[in-house]
Symmetry: C2
Subunit: 317 residues, 2 copies
Protein backbone atom coordinates (compact mmCIF):
# COMPACT_ATOMS: atom_id res chain seq x y z
CA UNK A 1 0.00 0.00 0.00
CA UNK A 2 1.39 3.36 -1.00
CA UNK A 3 0.47 5.89 1.62
CA UNK A 4 -0.71 9.25 0.35
CA UNK A 5 0.70 12.24 2.24
CA UNK A 6 -1.45 15.34 1.94
CA UNK A 7 -0.20 18.02 4.25
CA UNK A 8 -1.72 21.19 5.65
CA UNK A 9 0.56 23.80 7.20
CA UNK A 10 -1.23 26.22 9.52
CA UNK A 11 0.71 29.38 10.34
CA UNK A 12 2.82 29.16 7.20
CA UNK A 13 4.14 32.73 7.25
CA UNK A 14 5.23 32.86 10.90
CA UNK A 15 8.84 32.28 11.95
CA UNK A 16 8.32 28.62 12.83
CA UNK A 17 6.21 28.00 9.72
CA UNK A 18 8.90 29.50 7.52
CA UNK A 19 11.57 27.35 9.18
CA UNK A 20 9.39 24.29 8.68
CA UNK A 21 9.08 25.00 4.95
CA UNK A 22 12.86 25.54 4.74
CA UNK A 23 13.43 22.17 6.48
CA UNK A 24 10.97 20.40 4.15
CA UNK A 25 13.03 21.66 1.22
CA UNK A 26 16.46 20.93 2.73
CA UNK A 27 15.57 17.40 3.81
CA UNK A 28 13.71 16.76 0.56
CA UNK A 29 10.70 15.42 2.46
CA UNK A 30 8.29 13.50 0.23
CA UNK A 31 4.61 14.43 0.11
CA UNK A 32 1.81 14.32 -2.44
CA UNK A 33 0.00 17.59 -1.87
CA UNK A 34 0.58 20.52 0.41
CA UNK A 35 -1.52 23.55 1.36
CA UNK A 36 -0.51 26.62 3.33
CA UNK A 37 -2.93 28.36 5.67
CA UNK A 38 -2.55 31.68 7.45
CA UNK A 39 -4.59 34.41 9.08
CA UNK A 40 -6.76 36.57 6.82
CA UNK A 41 -4.01 39.23 6.92
CA UNK A 42 -1.32 36.93 5.52
CA UNK A 43 -3.50 35.11 2.96
CA UNK A 44 -2.61 35.46 -0.71
CA UNK A 45 1.18 35.41 -0.19
CA UNK A 46 3.44 33.35 -2.42
CA UNK A 47 5.45 30.46 -0.98
CA UNK A 48 8.09 28.61 -3.00
CA UNK A 49 8.82 24.97 -2.25
CA UNK A 50 10.71 22.47 -4.42
CA UNK A 51 10.52 24.80 -7.44
CA UNK A 52 6.78 25.15 -7.16
CA UNK A 53 4.85 28.23 -6.14
CA UNK A 54 1.95 28.09 -3.71
CA UNK A 55 -0.45 30.78 -2.53
CA UNK A 56 -1.33 30.97 1.16
CA UNK A 57 -5.02 30.68 2.01
CA UNK A 58 -7.00 32.03 4.93
CA UNK A 59 -7.73 29.28 7.49
CA UNK A 60 -11.48 28.89 8.00
CA UNK A 61 -13.70 26.11 9.33
CA UNK A 62 -14.04 24.88 5.75
CA UNK A 63 -10.26 24.71 5.09
CA UNK A 64 -9.61 21.35 6.69
CA UNK A 65 -11.13 18.45 4.77
CA UNK A 66 -10.63 14.69 4.76
CA UNK A 67 -8.24 15.15 1.83
CA UNK A 68 -5.50 16.02 4.34
CA UNK A 69 -3.96 13.30 6.43
CA UNK A 70 -1.41 15.47 8.26
CA UNK A 71 -1.78 19.00 9.61
CA UNK A 72 1.00 21.00 11.27
CA UNK A 73 -0.11 23.79 13.59
CA UNK A 74 2.32 26.69 14.03
CA UNK A 75 -0.21 29.48 14.55
CA UNK A 76 -0.38 29.78 18.34
CA UNK A 77 -2.68 28.61 21.11
CA UNK A 78 -5.99 30.15 20.02
CA UNK A 79 -5.88 28.66 16.53
CA UNK A 80 -4.77 25.25 17.85
CA UNK A 81 -7.50 25.19 20.48
CA UNK A 82 -10.14 25.69 17.82
CA UNK A 83 -8.79 23.78 14.81
CA UNK A 84 -6.72 20.87 16.18
CA UNK A 85 -9.84 19.04 17.47
CA UNK A 86 -11.60 19.70 14.14
CA UNK A 87 -8.65 18.16 12.27
CA UNK A 88 -8.45 15.17 14.62
CA UNK A 89 -12.19 14.48 14.21
CA UNK A 90 -11.75 14.42 10.43
CA UNK A 91 -9.06 11.75 10.87
CA UNK A 92 -6.20 14.11 10.16
CA UNK A 93 -3.09 13.59 12.31
CA UNK A 94 -2.45 16.99 13.89
CA UNK A 95 1.10 17.80 15.01
CA UNK A 96 0.63 20.82 17.22
CA UNK A 97 3.32 23.28 18.26
CA UNK A 98 1.16 25.16 20.77
CA UNK A 99 1.04 24.47 24.50
CA UNK A 100 -2.72 23.75 24.47
CA UNK A 101 -2.60 19.94 24.44
CA UNK A 102 0.89 19.23 25.78
CA UNK A 103 -0.05 18.32 29.33
CA UNK A 104 -3.19 16.35 28.32
CA UNK A 105 -2.47 12.84 29.60
CA UNK A 106 -4.10 11.24 26.55
CA UNK A 107 -1.90 13.17 24.10
CA UNK A 108 1.70 12.17 23.41
CA UNK A 109 4.32 14.92 23.85
CA UNK A 110 7.19 13.87 21.64
CA UNK A 111 10.87 14.52 21.17
CA UNK A 112 11.96 11.82 18.69
CA UNK A 113 15.39 11.22 20.28
CA UNK A 114 13.72 10.70 23.66
CA UNK A 115 10.29 9.08 23.48
CA UNK A 116 9.23 8.43 19.88
CA UNK A 117 7.70 5.10 21.00
CA UNK A 118 4.93 7.08 22.74
CA UNK A 119 3.83 8.61 19.42
CA UNK A 120 2.20 5.33 18.38
CA UNK A 121 -0.53 5.88 20.98
CA UNK A 122 -1.78 9.08 19.41
CA UNK A 123 -5.48 9.66 18.84
CA UNK A 124 -4.77 11.96 15.89
CA UNK A 125 -3.09 14.63 18.04
CA UNK A 126 0.63 14.78 18.83
CA UNK A 127 2.04 17.71 20.77
CA UNK A 128 5.38 19.34 20.02
CA UNK A 129 7.06 20.50 23.26
CA UNK A 130 8.19 24.00 24.12
CA UNK A 131 11.51 25.04 22.55
CA UNK A 132 13.28 25.28 25.92
CA UNK A 133 12.08 21.82 26.91
CA UNK A 134 13.20 20.10 23.69
CA UNK A 135 16.87 20.99 23.97
CA UNK A 136 16.90 20.22 27.70
CA UNK A 137 15.46 16.70 27.33
CA UNK A 138 17.73 15.85 24.40
CA UNK A 139 20.61 16.49 26.82
CA UNK A 140 19.02 14.97 29.92
CA UNK A 141 17.64 11.70 28.52
CA UNK A 142 20.90 9.84 27.70
CA UNK A 143 22.37 10.95 31.03
CA UNK A 144 19.25 9.90 32.93
CA UNK A 145 19.36 6.44 31.30
CA UNK A 146 22.86 5.86 32.64
CA UNK A 147 23.18 7.85 35.85
CA UNK A 148 19.61 8.56 37.09
CA UNK A 149 18.62 12.17 37.48
CA UNK A 150 18.21 13.41 41.03
CA UNK A 151 17.79 17.17 40.53
CA UNK A 152 17.96 19.59 37.59
CA UNK A 153 18.39 23.39 37.75
CA UNK A 154 18.00 25.31 34.47
CA UNK A 155 18.73 28.97 33.70
CA UNK A 156 17.78 29.93 30.15
CA UNK A 157 19.18 32.51 27.73
CA UNK A 158 16.31 32.80 25.22
CA UNK A 159 16.62 34.49 21.84
CA UNK A 160 14.10 37.06 20.61
CA UNK A 161 13.10 34.91 17.62
CA UNK A 162 11.22 32.76 20.14
CA UNK A 163 8.85 35.69 20.66
CA UNK A 164 8.02 36.05 16.93
CA UNK A 165 8.72 38.32 14.00
CA UNK A 166 7.69 41.52 15.79
CA UNK A 167 10.15 40.78 18.61
CA UNK A 168 12.92 40.36 16.02
CA UNK A 169 12.02 43.88 14.86
CA UNK A 170 12.28 45.07 18.48
CA UNK A 171 15.89 43.94 18.74
CA UNK A 172 16.74 45.40 15.32
CA UNK A 173 15.10 48.77 15.98
CA UNK A 174 15.58 49.21 19.72
CA UNK A 175 11.82 49.25 20.25
CA UNK A 176 9.59 47.42 22.76
CA UNK A 177 6.48 46.78 20.69
CA UNK A 178 6.13 43.00 20.78
CA UNK A 179 8.27 42.57 23.88
CA UNK A 180 7.33 44.08 27.22
CA UNK A 181 10.75 45.68 27.77
CA UNK A 182 13.42 47.08 25.49
CA UNK A 183 15.69 44.13 24.65
CA UNK A 184 18.38 45.80 22.53
CA UNK A 185 21.62 45.46 24.58
CA UNK A 186 19.41 44.68 27.60
CA UNK A 187 17.89 41.46 28.98
CA UNK A 188 15.02 40.59 31.31
CA UNK A 189 14.16 37.58 33.46
CA UNK A 190 10.53 37.39 32.37
CA UNK A 191 9.41 35.05 29.58
CA UNK A 192 5.66 34.45 29.39
CA UNK A 193 3.13 35.37 32.05
CA UNK A 194 3.60 35.44 35.82
CA UNK A 195 1.72 32.83 37.84
CA UNK A 196 0.66 33.09 41.47
CA UNK A 197 3.66 31.12 42.75
CA UNK A 198 6.10 33.67 41.28
CA UNK A 199 7.11 31.50 38.33
CA UNK A 200 6.29 32.36 34.73
CA UNK A 201 4.28 29.94 32.62
CA UNK A 202 7.40 29.43 30.48
CA UNK A 203 9.26 28.14 33.56
CA UNK A 204 6.40 25.83 34.51
CA UNK A 205 6.32 24.50 30.92
CA UNK A 206 9.96 23.38 31.21
CA UNK A 207 9.29 21.73 34.56
CA UNK A 208 6.07 19.92 33.61
CA UNK A 209 6.98 19.00 30.04
CA UNK A 210 10.39 17.63 31.04
CA UNK A 211 8.73 15.43 33.67
CA UNK A 212 6.18 14.17 31.13
CA UNK A 213 8.66 13.49 28.31
CA UNK A 214 11.14 11.73 30.62
CA UNK A 215 8.19 9.86 32.18
CA UNK A 216 9.47 10.94 35.61
CA UNK A 217 6.58 12.58 37.47
CA UNK A 218 8.48 13.48 40.62
CA UNK A 219 11.68 14.73 38.99
CA UNK A 220 13.17 17.51 41.10
CA UNK A 221 13.56 20.31 38.59
CA UNK A 222 13.44 24.10 38.66
CA UNK A 223 13.93 26.78 36.01
CA UNK A 224 14.56 30.50 35.54
CA UNK A 225 13.73 31.86 32.08
CA UNK A 226 15.50 34.94 30.74
CA UNK A 227 15.09 36.78 27.43
CA UNK A 228 18.47 37.90 26.06
CA UNK A 229 19.33 40.12 23.07
CA UNK A 230 20.34 37.17 20.91
CA UNK A 231 18.66 37.03 17.50
CA UNK A 232 18.15 33.27 17.23
CA UNK A 233 19.20 30.21 19.25
CA UNK A 234 18.30 29.45 22.86
CA UNK A 235 20.96 28.58 25.45
CA UNK A 236 20.59 26.86 28.80
CA UNK A 237 22.95 26.63 31.74
CA UNK A 238 21.99 23.30 33.30
CA UNK A 239 23.15 22.00 36.67
CA UNK A 240 22.45 18.30 37.14
CA UNK A 241 22.68 16.07 40.20
CA UNK A 242 22.65 12.31 39.63
CA UNK A 243 21.78 9.39 41.89
CA UNK A 244 24.69 7.35 40.51
CA UNK A 245 28.40 8.01 40.71
CA UNK A 246 30.25 8.70 37.47
CA UNK A 247 33.53 9.72 35.96
CA UNK A 248 33.31 12.96 34.01
CA UNK A 249 34.69 11.11 30.97
CA UNK A 250 31.62 8.83 31.08
CA UNK A 251 29.35 11.88 30.95
CA UNK A 252 31.23 13.19 27.93
CA UNK A 253 31.16 9.83 26.13
CA UNK A 254 27.45 9.39 26.84
CA UNK A 255 26.59 12.78 25.36
CA UNK A 256 28.99 12.33 22.47
CA UNK A 257 27.28 9.08 21.45
CA UNK A 258 23.72 10.34 21.94
CA UNK A 259 21.40 11.07 19.02
CA UNK A 260 20.99 14.70 17.97
CA UNK A 261 23.89 16.03 20.06
CA UNK A 262 27.17 17.64 19.02
CA UNK A 263 29.81 18.56 21.58
CA UNK A 264 31.65 21.89 21.35
CA UNK A 265 34.08 23.58 23.72
CA UNK A 266 32.18 26.86 23.68
CA UNK A 267 28.71 26.28 22.18
CA UNK A 268 26.95 29.45 21.09
CA UNK A 269 23.83 30.51 19.16
CA UNK A 270 25.87 31.76 16.17
CA UNK A 271 27.15 28.18 15.69
CA UNK A 272 23.73 26.54 15.49
CA UNK A 273 21.60 29.03 13.56
CA UNK A 274 19.72 27.07 10.85
CA UNK A 275 20.95 23.67 12.05
CA UNK A 276 19.17 20.82 13.83
CA UNK A 277 21.64 19.50 16.38
CA UNK A 278 21.72 20.33 20.05
CA UNK A 279 25.15 21.71 20.97
CA UNK A 280 26.53 20.83 24.39
CA UNK A 281 29.69 22.11 26.01
CA UNK A 282 31.21 23.32 29.27
CA UNK A 283 30.80 19.77 30.62
CA UNK A 284 32.46 19.68 34.03
CA UNK A 285 32.02 18.27 37.50
CA UNK A 286 30.17 20.44 40.03
CA UNK A 287 32.18 20.01 43.22
CA UNK A 288 29.44 21.60 45.36
CA UNK A 289 27.41 18.38 45.52
CA UNK A 290 28.08 14.62 45.52
CA UNK A 291 27.27 13.62 41.93
CA UNK A 292 26.91 16.92 40.09
CA UNK A 293 27.79 18.42 36.73
CA UNK A 294 27.37 21.73 34.92
CA UNK A 295 26.68 21.81 31.17
CA UNK A 296 25.73 24.48 28.62
CA UNK A 297 23.19 23.56 25.95
CA UNK A 298 22.43 25.51 22.75
CA UNK A 299 19.88 24.85 20.00
CA UNK A 300 18.11 26.71 17.22
CA UNK A 301 14.76 27.36 18.91
CA UNK A 302 12.96 27.74 15.57
CA UNK A 303 14.45 24.53 14.11
CA UNK A 304 15.08 21.77 16.69
CA UNK A 305 13.10 23.79 19.22
CA UNK A 306 10.00 23.82 17.00
CA UNK A 307 9.87 23.23 13.22
CA UNK A 308 12.39 20.41 12.86
CA UNK A 309 11.16 18.53 15.91
CA UNK A 310 7.67 18.52 14.37
CA UNK A 311 9.13 17.35 11.07
CA UNK A 312 11.14 14.61 12.78
CA UNK A 313 7.94 13.36 14.43
CA UNK A 314 6.30 13.27 10.98
CA UNK A 315 9.23 11.37 9.49
CA UNK A 316 9.07 8.74 12.23
CA UNK A 317 5.31 8.15 11.99
CA UNK B 1 43.82 66.28 63.40
CA UNK B 2 42.66 67.07 59.89
CA UNK B 3 43.56 64.18 57.62
CA UNK B 4 44.99 65.11 54.24
CA UNK B 5 43.62 63.05 51.34
CA UNK B 6 45.94 62.98 48.36
CA UNK B 7 44.69 60.51 45.80
CA UNK B 8 46.30 58.78 42.83
CA UNK B 9 44.05 57.14 40.23
CA UNK B 10 45.84 54.55 38.11
CA UNK B 11 44.00 53.57 34.93
CA UNK B 12 42.07 56.83 34.78
CA UNK B 13 40.94 56.56 31.16
CA UNK B 14 39.65 52.95 31.24
CA UNK B 15 35.96 52.16 31.71
CA UNK B 16 36.25 51.54 35.46
CA UNK B 17 38.51 54.59 35.93
CA UNK B 18 36.01 56.79 34.12
CA UNK B 19 33.16 55.45 36.23
CA UNK B 20 35.20 56.08 39.37
CA UNK B 21 35.74 59.72 38.40
CA UNK B 22 32.02 60.08 37.64
CA UNK B 23 31.18 58.65 41.08
CA UNK B 24 33.68 61.00 42.81
CA UNK B 25 31.85 63.90 41.20
CA UNK B 26 28.30 62.65 41.86
CA UNK B 27 28.97 61.79 45.50
CA UNK B 28 30.96 64.98 46.00
CA UNK B 29 33.79 63.05 47.65
CA UNK B 30 36.21 65.33 49.54
CA UNK B 31 39.94 65.19 48.79
CA UNK B 32 42.87 67.59 48.86
CA UNK B 33 44.83 66.67 45.75
CA UNK B 34 44.25 64.19 42.97
CA UNK B 35 46.44 62.88 40.14
CA UNK B 36 45.49 60.72 37.18
CA UNK B 37 47.86 58.12 35.76
CA UNK B 38 47.55 56.10 32.58
CA UNK B 39 49.61 54.16 30.08
CA UNK B 40 52.00 56.12 27.89
CA UNK B 41 49.40 55.95 25.10
CA UNK B 42 46.67 57.67 27.13
CA UNK B 43 48.89 60.24 28.86
CA UNK B 44 48.23 63.93 28.19
CA UNK B 45 44.44 63.62 28.07
CA UNK B 46 42.20 66.12 29.82
CA UNK B 47 39.97 65.01 32.70
CA UNK B 48 37.35 67.32 34.23
CA UNK B 49 36.39 66.90 37.87
CA UNK B 50 34.52 69.35 40.09
CA UNK B 51 34.98 72.15 37.56
CA UNK B 52 38.71 71.67 37.46
CA UNK B 53 40.74 70.32 34.55
CA UNK B 54 43.50 67.73 35.04
CA UNK B 55 45.95 66.23 32.58
CA UNK B 56 46.66 62.49 32.72
CA UNK B 57 50.28 61.47 33.28
CA UNK B 58 52.13 58.34 32.27
CA UNK B 59 52.57 55.97 35.23
CA UNK B 60 56.28 55.32 35.89
CA UNK B 61 58.26 54.10 38.89
CA UNK B 62 58.76 57.75 39.83
CA UNK B 63 55.04 58.60 39.73
CA UNK B 64 54.11 57.34 43.17
CA UNK B 65 55.58 59.41 45.99
CA UNK B 66 54.88 59.74 49.68
CA UNK B 67 52.69 62.73 48.89
CA UNK B 68 49.88 60.33 48.07
CA UNK B 69 48.09 58.54 50.85
CA UNK B 70 45.55 56.67 48.69
CA UNK B 71 46.02 55.01 45.32
CA UNK B 72 43.25 53.35 43.30
CA UNK B 73 44.38 50.74 40.78
CA UNK B 74 42.07 50.20 37.79
CA UNK B 75 44.69 49.32 35.17
CA UNK B 76 44.66 45.51 35.19
CA UNK B 77 46.75 42.74 36.71
CA UNK B 78 50.19 43.51 35.26
CA UNK B 79 50.20 47.12 36.47
CA UNK B 80 48.85 46.15 39.89
CA UNK B 81 51.41 43.38 40.32
CA UNK B 82 54.22 45.85 39.76
CA UNK B 83 52.97 49.08 41.35
CA UNK B 84 50.67 48.07 44.23
CA UNK B 85 53.62 46.76 46.34
CA UNK B 86 55.58 49.95 45.53
CA UNK B 87 52.67 52.07 46.73
CA UNK B 88 52.20 49.98 49.87
CA UNK B 89 55.89 50.25 50.73
CA UNK B 90 55.66 54.04 50.48
CA UNK B 91 52.84 53.97 53.03
CA UNK B 92 50.13 54.63 50.46
CA UNK B 93 46.89 52.69 50.98
CA UNK B 94 46.34 50.89 47.69
CA UNK B 95 42.78 49.90 46.78
CA UNK B 96 43.28 47.41 43.99
CA UNK B 97 40.67 46.31 41.46
CA UNK B 98 42.79 43.54 39.89
CA UNK B 99 42.65 39.89 40.89
CA UNK B 100 46.37 39.77 41.81
CA UNK B 101 46.05 40.13 45.60
CA UNK B 102 42.46 39.04 46.20
CA UNK B 103 43.17 35.53 47.45
CA UNK B 104 46.24 36.53 49.51
CA UNK B 105 45.27 35.59 53.05
CA UNK B 106 46.99 38.66 54.47
CA UNK B 107 45.03 41.04 52.27
CA UNK B 108 41.43 42.00 53.01
CA UNK B 109 38.95 41.47 50.17
CA UNK B 110 36.15 43.90 50.88
CA UNK B 111 32.53 44.52 49.98
CA UNK B 112 31.46 47.26 52.42
CA UNK B 113 27.92 45.92 52.96
CA UNK B 114 29.35 42.50 53.83
CA UNK B 115 32.71 42.65 55.62
CA UNK B 116 33.93 46.23 56.04
CA UNK B 117 35.22 45.31 59.52
CA UNK B 118 37.98 43.27 57.84
CA UNK B 119 39.34 46.39 56.12
CA UNK B 120 40.86 47.62 59.39
CA UNK B 121 43.47 44.84 59.19
CA UNK B 122 44.94 46.08 55.95
CA UNK B 123 48.68 46.40 55.53
CA UNK B 124 48.27 49.18 52.96
CA UNK B 125 46.62 46.91 50.39
CA UNK B 126 42.89 46.31 50.11
CA UNK B 127 41.52 44.19 47.27
CA UNK B 128 38.31 45.00 45.41
CA UNK B 129 36.52 41.77 44.42
CA UNK B 130 35.53 40.67 40.93
CA UNK B 131 32.35 42.33 39.59
CA UNK B 132 30.41 39.04 39.52
CA UNK B 133 31.39 38.29 43.13
CA UNK B 134 30.36 41.67 44.51
CA UNK B 135 26.73 41.53 43.44
CA UNK B 136 26.45 37.88 44.50
CA UNK B 137 27.73 38.45 48.05
CA UNK B 138 25.58 41.56 48.55
CA UNK B 139 22.61 39.24 47.93
CA UNK B 140 23.95 36.20 49.78
CA UNK B 141 25.24 37.78 53.00
CA UNK B 142 21.95 38.92 54.60
CA UNK B 143 20.35 35.60 53.68
CA UNK B 144 23.31 33.63 55.06
CA UNK B 145 23.12 35.53 58.36
CA UNK B 146 19.51 34.44 58.86
CA UNK B 147 19.12 31.08 57.11
CA UNK B 148 22.64 29.61 56.69
CA UNK B 149 23.80 28.88 53.18
CA UNK B 150 24.07 25.22 52.24
CA UNK B 151 24.71 25.39 48.48
CA UNK B 152 24.82 28.13 45.84
CA UNK B 153 24.58 27.70 42.04
CA UNK B 154 25.23 30.77 39.90
CA UNK B 155 24.74 31.29 36.15
CA UNK B 156 25.92 34.70 34.98
CA UNK B 157 24.80 36.97 32.15
CA UNK B 158 27.81 39.30 31.81
CA UNK B 159 27.78 42.55 29.85
CA UNK B 160 30.50 43.43 27.34
CA UNK B 161 31.53 46.52 29.31
CA UNK B 162 33.17 44.10 31.75
CA UNK B 163 35.66 43.23 29.00
CA UNK B 164 36.70 46.84 28.41
CA UNK B 165 36.27 49.64 25.89
CA UNK B 166 37.36 47.55 22.89
CA UNK B 167 34.72 44.93 23.71
CA UNK B 168 32.10 47.67 23.77
CA UNK B 169 33.22 48.52 20.23
CA UNK B 170 32.84 44.83 19.32
CA UNK B 171 29.16 44.84 20.26
CA UNK B 172 28.58 48.17 18.49
CA UNK B 173 30.36 47.17 15.28
CA UNK B 174 29.69 43.42 15.11
CA UNK B 175 33.43 42.70 15.33
CA UNK B 176 35.40 40.25 17.46
CA UNK B 177 38.58 42.21 18.10
CA UNK B 178 38.75 42.39 21.89
CA UNK B 179 36.42 39.44 22.43
CA UNK B 180 37.26 35.94 21.24
CA UNK B 181 33.88 35.45 19.50
CA UNK B 182 31.41 37.75 17.79
CA UNK B 183 29.05 38.92 20.53
CA UNK B 184 26.58 41.04 18.55
CA UNK B 185 23.21 39.21 18.86
CA UNK B 186 25.20 36.14 20.00
CA UNK B 187 26.49 34.93 23.40
CA UNK B 188 29.17 32.54 24.61
CA UNK B 189 29.77 30.61 27.82
CA UNK B 190 33.44 31.51 28.13
CA UNK B 191 34.57 34.42 30.30
CA UNK B 192 38.29 34.47 31.08
CA UNK B 193 40.70 31.62 30.51
CA UNK B 194 40.03 27.89 30.73
CA UNK B 195 41.66 26.00 33.58
CA UNK B 196 42.54 22.31 33.66
CA UNK B 197 39.38 21.34 35.56
CA UNK B 198 37.17 22.72 32.77
CA UNK B 199 36.21 25.88 34.65
CA UNK B 200 37.25 29.35 33.55
CA UNK B 201 39.25 31.54 35.92
CA UNK B 202 36.23 33.87 36.07
CA UNK B 203 34.14 31.01 37.49
CA UNK B 204 36.82 30.11 40.03
CA UNK B 205 37.04 33.77 41.08
CA UNK B 206 33.34 33.76 42.01
CA UNK B 207 33.74 30.53 43.94
CA UNK B 208 36.91 31.45 45.86
CA UNK B 209 36.15 35.13 46.44
CA UNK B 210 32.63 34.41 47.69
CA UNK B 211 34.04 31.90 50.19
CA UNK B 212 36.64 34.41 51.40
CA UNK B 213 34.28 37.38 51.70
CA UNK B 214 31.61 35.37 53.50
CA UNK B 215 34.36 33.80 55.65
CA UNK B 216 32.95 30.37 54.76
CA UNK B 217 35.82 28.23 53.44
CA UNK B 218 33.78 25.14 52.69
CA UNK B 219 30.76 26.80 51.14
CA UNK B 220 29.30 24.57 48.44
CA UNK B 221 29.19 26.85 45.44
CA UNK B 222 29.49 26.47 41.68
CA UNK B 223 29.29 28.92 38.78
CA UNK B 224 28.88 29.12 35.01
CA UNK B 225 29.96 32.41 33.43
CA UNK B 226 28.43 33.59 30.17
CA UNK B 227 29.10 36.71 28.10
CA UNK B 228 25.88 38.16 26.68
CA UNK B 229 25.31 41.00 24.20
CA UNK B 230 24.26 43.45 26.91
CA UNK B 231 26.11 46.75 26.88
CA UNK B 232 26.45 47.30 30.63
CA UNK B 233 25.14 45.59 33.76
CA UNK B 234 25.80 42.02 34.85
CA UNK B 235 22.96 39.66 35.79
CA UNK B 236 23.05 36.44 37.78
CA UNK B 237 20.52 33.66 38.10
CA UNK B 238 21.22 32.31 41.60
CA UNK B 239 19.81 29.12 43.08
CA UNK B 240 20.31 28.92 46.85
CA UNK B 241 19.79 26.05 49.28
CA UNK B 242 19.68 26.92 52.98
CA UNK B 243 20.26 24.86 56.12
CA UNK B 244 17.33 26.56 57.88
CA UNK B 245 13.66 26.50 57.02
CA UNK B 246 12.04 29.77 55.99
CA UNK B 247 8.89 31.36 54.69
CA UNK B 248 9.39 33.02 51.32
CA UNK B 249 8.08 36.27 52.86
CA UNK B 250 11.02 36.18 55.30
CA UNK B 251 13.45 35.96 52.38
CA UNK B 252 11.81 38.95 50.73
CA UNK B 253 11.81 41.01 53.93
CA UNK B 254 15.44 40.15 54.63
CA UNK B 255 16.56 41.30 51.20
CA UNK B 256 14.28 44.35 51.30
CA UNK B 257 15.90 45.53 54.53
CA UNK B 258 19.47 44.76 53.52
CA UNK B 259 21.99 47.47 52.68
CA UNK B 260 22.63 48.22 49.01
CA UNK B 261 19.70 46.19 47.69
CA UNK B 262 16.57 47.26 45.83
CA UNK B 263 13.84 44.78 44.97
CA UNK B 264 12.19 44.83 41.54
CA UNK B 265 9.71 42.45 39.91
CA UNK B 266 11.79 42.14 36.73
CA UNK B 267 15.30 43.49 37.39
CA UNK B 268 17.27 44.22 34.23
CA UNK B 269 20.53 45.90 33.21
CA UNK B 270 18.73 48.88 31.62
CA UNK B 271 17.30 49.72 35.06
CA UNK B 272 20.63 49.87 36.88
CA UNK B 273 23.00 51.47 34.38
CA UNK B 274 24.92 54.23 36.20
CA UNK B 275 23.46 53.37 39.62
CA UNK B 276 25.02 51.75 42.70
CA UNK B 277 22.32 49.44 44.08
CA UNK B 278 22.08 45.72 43.52
CA UNK B 279 18.68 44.88 42.04
CA UNK B 280 17.07 41.62 43.11
CA UNK B 281 13.89 40.07 41.78
CA UNK B 282 12.23 36.80 40.76
CA UNK B 283 12.41 35.71 44.41
CA UNK B 284 10.57 32.40 44.67
CA UNK B 285 10.75 29.04 46.36
CA UNK B 286 12.55 26.26 44.51
CA UNK B 287 10.36 23.23 45.07
CA UNK B 288 13.05 20.83 43.81
CA UNK B 289 14.90 20.83 47.14
CA UNK B 290 14.03 21.16 50.84
CA UNK B 291 15.00 24.77 51.60
CA UNK B 292 15.63 26.31 48.20
CA UNK B 293 15.02 29.59 46.40
CA UNK B 294 15.70 31.10 42.99
CA UNK B 295 16.59 34.80 42.66
CA UNK B 296 17.81 37.07 39.85
CA UNK B 297 20.45 39.68 40.70
CA UNK B 298 21.48 42.65 38.54
CA UNK B 299 24.14 45.32 39.13
CA UNK B 300 26.16 47.84 37.16
CA UNK B 301 29.44 45.94 36.82
CA UNK B 302 31.44 49.13 36.28
CA UNK B 303 29.87 50.93 39.27
CA UNK B 304 28.95 48.62 42.21
CA UNK B 305 30.89 45.82 40.50
CA UNK B 306 34.11 47.86 40.46
CA UNK B 307 34.42 51.66 40.77
CA UNK B 308 31.79 52.38 43.39
CA UNK B 309 32.74 49.44 45.58
CA UNK B 310 36.31 50.80 45.67
CA UNK B 311 34.98 54.26 46.49
CA UNK B 312 32.74 52.88 49.23
CA UNK B 313 35.78 51.17 50.78
CA UNK B 314 37.61 54.53 50.69
CA UNK B 315 34.66 56.33 52.30
CA UNK B 316 34.54 53.80 55.15
CA UNK B 317 38.27 53.91 55.91
Amino acid sequence: MIKIRNIAIIGATGLVGQNFIKALEEKNIKFDNISFFTSKKSAGKKIELKNKAYITEELTEQSLTKDFNYAFFFAGGDISKKYVPIAAKLGIIAIDNSSVFRMDEAIPLIVPEVNIEKAANHKNIIANPNCTTIQAVVALKPLHDKFNLKRVIISTYQAVSGAGIEAVRDIENGTANALKYKIQKNLFPEVGEFLENGYTDEEIKIINETRKILDFKNLNITATCVRVPVLNGHSESINIEFENEFKIEEIITTLENAKGIKLQTTPQPANINGKDDVLIGRIRRDESVKNGINIFVVADNLRKGAATNALQIFEKL
